[in-house]
């Protein structure tokens, strides 16, 4: 089923190692086959209580009133949790790295923004008692109009999903309604292309569907701390999130996890930990909060749907000379991690190919559906579906074999990527060659002769081209979405300093050799890479909108800040928490 082709890149490897590279049995396998592996739910507690949440039946509604009286009096009920019981009832996951504004409550306050949003939590002696009491909670709603389509959501006048982002999009750099990528002059190149092909792709949401549903058991521990058996994919991520929401010092929490029944990205959100711990704090007893399967399927955050428009300029000989991507991440009602995926996707454009002119506009849109989150291949999977189906269509359009077409356009060591860094350690061509050989898919001698190690970075392949930049899509100013380019960045322009080498603590003996550090070679000095001042900014949204078409007046340009390892995300994205 799997073989290793040691004949490739052999001179780049020392295969004389002791245990690395050997198919040694997993440390955790004996536990798995004997049923002894301990997952979060496999812990016995005396007096265990069970937590169930009351969820919104509406996609979008104002909460008029909540009456928990009958539920509180129901048999077996120990405590009802309401929004007011949550110490810090507004959070966004990436606030831990200072990226994005707090926008999501643990329990809904004035409004529900998606069907299934938690409103009230019931804690009782048994799951049955909690479920019975849950039915007694009375919530009155005023139903509001909802929006489900990403492009509809971005139109002026669409229902406002999430007041923290009142225009239904995540705000990048406190400046734009999307994340930009600009490399060369795509518009001009489309004009020069033999063929221009634009297509629309749509992926669906995907449920992570781990066989173990999300859940937590939290219990008071000695020394006035709380032990938390968690299924989190990021132990300290979840600990930090819980500490913030519960306004506790991190050392009051003792998180135990690490053995998780599948995650695939669906156990990053830390939705069950804070409420379970809060329950343990307020009842003084162990509290278990586990999503049932229907909750996991319908209200556990999915991989978000993505809509991707790909526009390519193609020459008859098969060379792609321009690629523009416009895509929309469907974040659902809250940000969670979608904001980060869009940036990861931006760095991935145009895929593993060298294209001289590339641009993209990537939006994160809010809709009235369950918030989406990370999933296996986050930010890349949908783009790859779109790009690789597009590649098949392009090959078809110029009547080329799709494998030959990939090899012709493949990126190679030394090529300049669209995010203005030099590619290295590439191997796409070799993968295509080996797959073709295995599948007995005929390749030309010329295609079989190609190599990732040769031909990359030659001439313009290694250069950063002159690039027109624009101020389109300013926050709160939809009329700027079609504004013209405002400035031409000279060839070779770099504004972001190269990352310094990784911190790698642990000294003394250097054997075996420490991993090399990532090094980005700057563009070869055709035009000396110079750190330039940013382009003139458009006036802030508060200023009167300039008439469409008119170039915005110039404003003083802030000098580029020096970068260092300790830099906060806030300085990356300019979205410090409010």
């Amino acid at each position: 089923m799997l073989d290793i082709r040691k004949d490739f890149f052999a001179n780049e490897r020392d295969d004389n190692l002791n245990v690395i590279g050997k198919g040694i049995q997993r440390q955790d396998m004996p536990g798995h086959v004997t049923g002894r592996s301990r997952y979060f739910d496999d812990h016995a507690f005396e007096g265990l209580l069970h937590l169930k949440v009351v969820r919104s039946p509406h996609h979008h509604a104002r909460i008029r009133s909540i009456d928990v009286g009958a539920a509180e009096r129901a048999p077996g009920v120990k405590r009802i949790l309401r929004a007011a019981d949550v110490p810090v009832n507004k959070n966004t996951l990436l606030s831990l790295i200072n990226f994005g504004k707090d926008d999501e409550p643990s329990l809904a306050v004035d409004k529900v923004r998606y069907k299934g949003e938690p409103v009230v939590a019931v804690i009782a002696e048994s799951e049955a008692a909690a479920m019975a009491a849950r039915k007694l909670v009375r919530v009155d709603y005023d139903v509001l109009p909802a929006v489900f389509d990403v492009e509809e959501a971005l139109k002026p006048g669409a229902p406002v999903v999430n007041e923290t982002y009142p225009h239904n999009y995540f705000e990048y750099h406190e400046k734009f309604d999307h994340q930009k990528l600009r490399f060369g002059d795509t518009e001009k190149a489309f004009g020069a292309a033999d063929l221009v092909i634009e297509e629309r792709y749509q992926t669906s949401p995907i449920e992570h569907a781990p066989t173990e549903t999300n859940g937590t058991i939290a219990a008071p521990e000695q020394e006035n701390r709380f032990v938390v058996h968690s299924c989190a994919q990021g132990l300290f991520f979840s600990l930090g999130t819980a500490a913030k929401i519960l306004d506790l010092d991190s050392n009051r929490l003792h998180f135990i996890g690490g053995t998780v029944g599948g995650g695939f990205g669906g156990k990053v959100d830390s939705l069950t930990e804070p409420l379970a711990i809060l329950g343990a704090m307020l009842t003084g007893r162990p509290v278990r909060y586990v999503l049932d399967r229907e909750e996991e399927m319908l209200y556990g955050s999915p991989r978000g749907a993505e809509r991707v428009y790909v526009k390519d300029g193609l020459m008859r000989d098969g060379r792609i000379i321009a690629r523009h991507i416009r895509s929309y991440f469907d974040a659902g009602a809250y940000t969670r991690l979608s904001s980060y995926a869009a940036v990861k996707c931006t760095a991935h454009v145009p895929g593993p190919y060298w294209v001289p002119n590339v641009s993209s506009d990537i939006y994160v849109a809010y809709t009235n559906r369950c918030p989406s989150t990370a999933m296996r291949g986050f930010g890349i999977t949908a783009a790859d579906f779109a790009l690789e189906v597009q590649m098949d269509k392009l090959a078809h359009a110029v009547n080329m074999d799709p494998m030959e077409f990939r090899i012709l356009n493949a990126y190679r060591d030394g090529d300049m990527k669209a995010h203005r860094r030099v590619a290295k350690n590439t191997a796409l061509i070799e993968c295509v060659q080996v797959a073709a050989e295995k599948a007995r898919w005929p390749l030309s001698d010329n295609a079989r002769r190609q190599s990732s190690l040769e031909g990359g970075g030659q001439g313009e392949r290694g250069q950063i081209p002159a690039t027109p930049i624009d101020q389109r899509g300013q926050i709160g100013r939809p009329e700027t979405r079609n504004a013209p380019a405002t400035q031409m960045l000279p060839a070779g322009t770099m504004r972001i300093p190269l990352t310094k080498q990784p911190e790698l603590e642990g000294s003394r003996d250097a054997r075996p050799a420490a991993p090399n550090v990532p090094r980005y070679e700057p563009a070869r000095p055709m035009a000396q890479p110079a750190v330039q001042a940013p382009a003139p900014l458009a006036p802030p949204p508060t200023a009167p909108p300039s008439p469409p078409g008119a170039a915005p007046p110039a404003a003083p340009a802030p000098a580029a800040q020096p970068q260092h390892g300790a830099m906060r995300f806030s300085s990356v994205f300019g979205t410090r928490r409010r």
């Binding site: 798995h32 049923g35 739910d41 066989t211 549903t213």
Partner: protein, 160 residues
Amino acid sequence: MAKIPVQFRLNGSDRAAFTDAAENLLTTLRRGLNEFAPKYGCGQGTCGVCTVLIDGEPQLACLTLAVACEGRHVETASGLADGPNLHALQVAFMDNFAAQCGFCTPGMLMAARALLDRNPSPSREDVIEAIAGNICRCTGYEPIIRAILAAAGAHGQKRA
């Protein structure tokens, strides 16, 4: 809520627990008897991670009334090994790297055990049929199918 006593054999030893009237066997095993090998995956009968043997037949603990198990023999993955000696299926699952997160493994093993008890030399189709009610989200099933076929082979050799 008045609790009801229930007694049954669990992996060969007599156990007793107090349950709620309508409590399912999975809850009784996990919360009443601290037998954590069978997992909760859905409570719907759609995932198979709670598969146990009752009087030798595969059943889903989450859909089985605990009080209905009075006097019967319940077997879980914890009882598969003979003391320190692993069952042929456990060895085959290890050899074939047939688990990743491991959460479906206890149920998968019991479904396979039920198959091999009835049919010591199953075909690939028999194996696929036997695990059709057990969801695995990690492995793509192929390593599990291979492991069960390998275990059947090992069984055969033992008998021969």
